[in-house]
Symmetry: C2
Amino acid sequence: MSERLPAKKQLEKQPETAVVLLSGGLDSSTALAWAIKEKAWHCYTLAFDYGQRHRIELAASQRIAAALGVQEHRVLRVDLASIGGSALTSDIDVPKDHQKTGSIPVTYVPARNLIFLSMAAAFAEARGASHLVIGANIVDYSGYPDCRSEFFAAFAQTLKLATRAGAEGSDTHIETPLINLKKSEIIALGLKLGLDYSLTHSCYDPTSDGRPCGHCDSCLYRRSGFNALGLSDPLPYPD
Amino acid sequence: MSERLPAKKQLEKQPETAVVLLSGGLDSSTALAWAIKEKAWHCYTLAFDYGQRHRIELAASQRIAAALGVQEHRVLRVDLASIGGSALTSDIDVPKDHQKTGSIPVTYVPARNLIFLSMAAAFAEARGASHLVIGANIVDYSGYPDCRSEFFAAFAQTLKLATRAGAEGSDTHIETPLINLKKSEIIALGLKLGLDYSLTHSCYDPTSDGRPCGHCDSCLYRRSGFNALGLSDPLPYPD
């Protein structure tokens, strides 16, 4: 039997490869845990240094990538701050305690997911990855146009026409495992997969010592997700 | 009559605004001349510092933007070199004298037009521009998947779903004025519009003193375009 092992091994399917957008927040970290632990994909992770005021999230993305054991973690620079138009990249105030500022939040960054997915597609093409994973979800955080399923479906169609891989017939699948989950369901999924949420960072407007503010939309949705499960968010909120 | 002039002026249509991708090459410079002189749009221009070996084109883009009188010219940094996968951003040799290297040239940069258009869309959204202009053409330079009309049509659909502007019902039109023109027709259009092609730069692999090599695909298509019109390319080729 033993002499057959090498031949048998050759027949084993190569693991599929994915590029995962990893901001270091709760959602993207859960999406990465899903890709690695539920799908058993070999994962490359990308974070973006785009001039965001919560640049501290880049350190969280590195912690998560290391903790979950990715193939390679890369921080790509892309200058969205000089383009402007968002509270996350300019001196517009980040709204607190669900203060309304119009139908689409001022924390919307023009075309951000389109740009990030496009760069992830380039990275996937250069490495032969067949999946792009993004932790977008619409249930507890509606308002961003580029978090809708219709957007991801349209992007997948465009991608077939945009790249060498697409032109040569190999599809890159856009994976949105969290798209229809409530925040509490996302957290329950991550906990089931063993994810340590104390490593993540979600706040848009952290304090000078790096703690989450507790009052921006991102903090509020996150905390209420833990509350709905009867749990406390492990992050050190000031209040 | 004179007292009515201010009121009349208010009724005049505001000029439309465009964001033009301006590499400083022959095609993008002609597309800019078209947008300014034929369409009378107020134009913002974008060049990208993406780790290209022909970084000298950035100086050409600035010369052209200044010569044609744009509203604002911006060079955005985006790190495609670290993604790799192209002769233009890595140490793969640039093919010379139409040397074949496969169906899609090795000078293809993964997802480049998708990334550049996505960033231009963000810039357009932040400035309320309703047109994105790209000097892509397929006749004399086929092979790049992201220069096809189908790609631009799909991108326009995706854009409607990707941005605040799209979600709120204002379309951003993708303008490809050169898409079906031969290189000689592009040059004839530019000359008719008064464009000075000595300001442009097209070479993928310039000499150390900044002159075009004369033998890469980009140089060859350009020179044959001038030849077809019975003209000489004004650039200082070594041979």
